[in-house]
């Protein structure tokens, strides 16, 4: 077998050294009744590279990939162009096949990249510090809610109706066991984010308000007043960003007073991957750093006084604190964080700004074009690269009908909020630098046909 270097002669020689008659004899601690005496029945045997490639390629061909179709899906995962050098660099074996940097003397590559990543994320979010990544945006979001509980010692979290429904779902699952009380609501198909309604819910019991920016319908609103109201009530503002490219053009949540900013980093450097792996971003103020979950890379010096980096503040973490840790997270999204930081370095300030401008420009043009389709109405006139259309009929079957014509035309609110009254006609459309004019025309035509 191509991944197993031992030859039969090696095995026999090693068994002699060990003093065991056979490999099977090394498993004597396994209760005999449960011990298997051969390969598990009914499963196939080993296969060549060629055979495996053939089998998996056949499965891959049964999917319609984003690159093959006019493509307009967003809602927490976005299609952006990733420079070829990103994937090349993350496949260097020294990155790909290394472990969490527990031995810093021989892991400076990973550690320095993480330190740079943390700095980029903190600056992008307008925060003091960021950690070395979480699993994804949704888990980063509930970790932020837990962190706000620890800081404020309060248990009521007010979630915006514009927060991604999967993120709300994850928070609800966790709250059932942690005792947090969540105030949630379904979004309304209107032009404005629900900031005013959120403010009304904040009281002396509130640990945090959680608001997505831009929100699930693509709407954006100033967070400053919400932050002030939170702080006046002794609560924290948690801002969630699922489309980091937006921050190339719009103000950072930290700048507007958010105390914890979390989000999904997939847009930068990480492909769609059918939902994972992605990379959770997590940033906050200096004063809360010891309540943060996750790993942190920090600067220090070595025995010769040379600058170097280590994992630090690990007394927050499970391998030291066990049941008193701030989180149970161990493995995070290291390689996706590396992809993020490389792509961000290629973009830089100018490139991110330009990328965001192109996204916004294309989205503006697409919104206007689609609003000219008979019966279709643009719900929100303020957006970054994603907006919501109100169709004259249910959007979910329209999306399926468009898919049959080879157009991936957006995410229906019926998919995200099954059965929710008043939302079934909503279609969320994301337009990035990858969408061409022809794609927009194809979407308009497919939409017309689906609504006819």
């Amino acid at each position: 077998m191509r991944y197993l270097p031992l030859a039969e002669a090696d095995r026999q020689e090693m068994l002699r050294t060990i003093g065991a008659p056979s490999v099977e004899a090394l498993f004597t601690d396994v209760p005999e009744a449960a011990r298997l005496d051969g390969a598990i029945h009914g499963l196939p045997s080993h296969a060549s590279e060629m055979a495996v490639e053939r089998a998996l390629s056949a499965m891959a061909r049964r999917n319609l990939s984003a690159g093959e179709a006019p493509f307009f899906l967003g809602c927490g995962a976005y299609k952006h162009h990733i420079p070829a050098s990103v994937d090349h660099l993350i496949q260097r074996g020294e990155f790909l096949t290394s472990y969490t940097p527990y031995q810093p003397e021989i892991a400076q590559g990973t550690l320095q990249a993480l330190f740079e990543f943390q700095t980029q994320v903190a600056r992008l979010y307008g925060c003091d510090v960021a950690n070395a990544s979480m699993y994804d945006g949704s888990t980063a979001c509930w970790e932020a809610i837990g962190m706000a509980r620890r800081i404020t010692r309060r248990g009521k979290a007010v979630l915006s109706s514009g927060l991604h429904p999967h993120y709300v779902s994850v928070a609800k699952t966790m709250a059932r066991f942690t005792g947090d009380r969540l105030v949630t609501a379904l979004p309304e198909l209107g032009p404005e984010p629900d900031t005013a309604a959120l403010i009304e819910q904040i009281d002396a019991e509130t640990s945090c308000a959680v608001v997505q920016y831009p929100d699930i319908l693509g709407r954006i609103g100033d967070l400053s007043e919400l932050a002030e109201r939170c702080h006046a009530a002794g609560a924290l503002l948690v801002a969630v960003v699922t489309e980091p490219v937006a921050l190339g053009l719009i103000r950072a949540p930290g700048e507007m007073g958010a105390d914890i900013v979390v989000g999904e980093g997939q847009s930068i450097g990480v492909g769609l991957n059918f939902g994972g792996p992605y990379v959770g971003l997590f940033a906050t103020r200096d004063k809360y750093v010891r309540q943060m979950p996750g790993r942190l890379a920090g600067e220090t010096v070595d025995a010769e006084g040379k600058r170097g980096f280590v994992l630090t503040l690990s007394t927050r973490e499970q391998h030291i604190r066990r049941e008193k840790a701030t989180s149970n997270i161990c493995t995070n999204s290291g390689l996706c964080a590396l992809a993020f930081t490389i792509h961000m370095t290629l973009l830089g300030e100018k490139g991110l700004r330009r990328l965001a401008e192109v996204n916004h420009a294309r989205a503006c043009a697409a919104a206007d074009r689609l609003a000219r389709v008979a019966g279709v109405e643009l719900v929100n006139d303020v957006f970054f690269n994603e907006f919501t259309l109100r169709l004259p009929r249910e959007a979910r079957p329209a999306v399926r009908a468009m898919a049959e014509k080879g157009v991936l035309g957006g995410v229906s609110l019926g998919r995200l909020y099954p059965g929710a009254e008043g939302l079934e006609n909503g279609l969320v459309v994301a337009v990035t630098e990858t969408s061409t004019n022809e794609d927009v025309e194809a979407l308009a035509a497919a939409l017309e046909e689906a609504l006819a």
Binding site: Y3, P5, T17, I18, V23, P31, A34, A39, I40, H46, V52, E53, L56, M59, A60, R62, N63, L64, S65, L73, G76, A77, P83, I90, F95, S98, P101, Q112, A113, Q118, S133, V170, T173, G179, L249, R251, A252, L272, F274, G275, V289, G298, V301, D302, Q318, E323, N328, G334, I342, T345, L347, G348, E349, V358, A361, C364, A365, D368, R369, L408
Partner: protein, 553 residues
């Protein structure tokens, strides 16, 4: 006679001591690398955007052309090259008004920066990486190639199910393998890593207990467990109590039985355990826990030792996570991403999380909140956005299909053989606290017993770095003094093991002989020992531009 022969062949010259340092700080192939924030020309860009003819500006050409038909002129009727000004965009007055502070590099600078950084890392591709309980095995490149097929890598999680039948099939197929290999009843694919899988298992356990109206409050965890076990149990709201080990490094069955009662919700057992030993009483443990009304969680981090040899389902386990990034060789990537599917017994299956893939006829469907009510109404809910680590599923299935049932059995056999070979080859050199109790599983555990005064496990580990190895897991498990946990995995050859054994013997003998030079190790790594105390005392977690020096006068 050729020109080449008349050249100036280099040869070692005597009488010149080299330790003078260099002007750059580089040492030949060992290259120092600044932070991106410190580079002189870090206001560049390594990405080109579409060019608008006539303006020389990179911008969204088609969007501009499209916009010209519009009744209402948006900002793009004019070339959108210059940044939009407030009022010309649709950003609701939220246009960013100050720089972010992100350095940008051209592609060649970027490639060089990260290539240089990569060379300061140790990795499996460079050599043996015997980090115990981490299963650092070779990562087949076929798996990387498969994960990058556009049909898997370039599909959106919310696409209509009809357009992703192959992806759903792949998830279902991998799930079938995991269920069959473990002899369990069902599998939850969405957990993002091992600790997330533990959370999944304990949430299902708590949901099951609550469903039968039997709230319990304690989870028992062996002292030798990974830190994630108690952290997870505490997160789910349980009080954590330790289970003691016996002198053979296994769970003390009598002590466990003595503690079981109506307040114990579950026990979390790692099997094989973190001492590298199989729990021979596992069936008895499960029976006792079940008899007391509790459930059995198994930490499957060490499944690599037993895959194809024994099925956890035959040992009475109710839930177990599987680290695809360990047993099924998806790369660790310097700390993730991982993937932690959880297999469940029949008792826990109704409580498994959403979403999951189900085959209905010849069609694969994704069961989500919407459809769960019909036949999965007791689910504890959703753990993450979307459906799990697809990129890891693809790699894991490629790995599993490559090995097949026969190959996977060979995997565990060779992994255990390699660990025992190391264990027995160091007889009389390093103390193996449980060596007398029989063969180990996939990892060999040693202690620092016999080291000379002042020399520690840490010193030995750092000396191994100089010998060209990543050290083993140190000071874990906590039940052994100065623990050294060595997991070679099955992808190492005998020659590699022999060299490693030689190196380990050499440094162990130095430690026993009191060779104080070990304290200076590593000497040959890109950095000497780093000051972790200073890093924690005065945390510097992001780069800060140095304050401009005041003028001299």
């Amino acid at each position: 006679m050729s020109m080449n022969r008349e050249g100036r062949p280099t040869r070692p010259e005597s009488g010149h001591e080299a330790e003078t340092g260099t002007w750059t700080g580089n040492r030949a192939l060992m290259l120092e690398e600044a932070l991106i924030f410190e580079m002189d020309e870090a206001d560049g860009c390594g990405v080109d955007f579409e060019i608008l003819p006539g303006t020389g500006r990179g911008t969204a050409r088609s969007a501009v052309e499209g916009a010209q038909h519009l009744a209402r002129p948006p900002l793009h009727q004019a070339p959108p090259g210059p940044p939009p000004r407030p009022g010309e965009d649709r950003l609701g007055g939220l246009l960013r008004n100050r720089p972010i502070g992100l350095p940008g590099l051209s592609e060649p600078q970027t490639v060089r920066h990260y290539t240089r950084l990569s060379r300061q890392n140790y990795a499996i591709d460079l050599g043996l990486f015997p980090l115990g309980s981490c299963t650092m095995k070779h990562n087949p490149r076929l798996c990387e190639k498969m994960a990058r097929l556009p049909g898997f890598a370039d599909i959106h999680p919310l696409q209509p199910a009809d357009t992703v039948q192959g992806a759903l099939e792949l998830i279902a197929k991998l799930g079938e393998w995991l269920v069959t290999l473990t002899g369990m009843h069902s599998v939850a694919m969405s957990p993002k890593a091992g600790a997330h899988g533990e959370l999944c298992g304990l949430l299902a356990i708590r949901a099951a207990l609550e469903a039968r109206g039997d709230a319990r409050e304690v989870v028992l965890v062996p002292e030798s467990a990974h830190g994630t076990n108690p952290a997870t149990a505490a997160f789910v709201g349980y009080r954590v109590e330790n289970i003691p080990a016996n002198d053979r490094g296994r769970v003390d069955l009598d002590a466990l039985k003595g503690r079981l009662g109506p307040d114990v919700a579950a026990v979390m057992i790692t099997n094989p355990n973190t001492c590298g030993l199989f729990e021979p009483d596992m069936i008895a443990i499960s029976e006792a826990v079940h008899a007391a009304g509790g459930l059995v969680y198994c930490d499957g981090a060490n499944f690599n030792a037993i895959v194809g040899r024994v099925r956890p389902g035959d040992l009475g386990i109710d839930a177990m996570h599987i680290n695809l990034h360990k047993t099924f060789s998806t790369p660790h990537g310097g700390g993730g991403p991982g993937s932690g599917p959880v297999v469940f017994s029949q008792a826990l299956t109704p409580f498994a999380p959403l979403p999951f893939v189900e085959k209905q006829g010849d069609h694969y469907v994704l069961v989500e909140e919407e459809t769960a009510g019909e036949h999965h109404g007791q689910s504890f809910g959703r753990m993450t956005a979307f459906h799990g680590q697809m990129g890891m599923f693809t790699r894991a299935l490629a790995y599993i299909l490559s090995h097949g049932a026969d190959g996977l059995r060979q995997v565990s056999g060779d992994a255990v053989l390699n660990a025992n070979y190391i264990l027995r080859s160091l007889d009389g050199v390093l103390d193996a606290p449980f060596g007398a109790s029989g063969p180990c599983m996939h990892e060999a555990l040693f202690s620092d017993k016999g080291f000379a005064e002042g020399l520690t496990t840490l010193d030995l580990a750092k000396a191994l770095i100089d010998e060209g190895y990543h050290p083993m897991t140190m000071y874990f498990p906590l039940v052994v003094h100065g623990a050294m946990l060595v997991e070679p995995t099955e992808t190492e050859s005998k020659a590699t093991l022999d060299q490693f054994i030689g190196a380990l013997r050499s440094v162990a003998e130095r430690a026993k002989a009191g060779d104080q030079s070990l304290k200076a190790a590593p000497v040959y790594a890109p950095r000497r020992r780093l000051d972790e105390t200073q890093a924690a005392r005065r945390p510097v977690l992001v780069y800060q531009e140095p304050k401009q020096a005041e003028a001299a006068e």
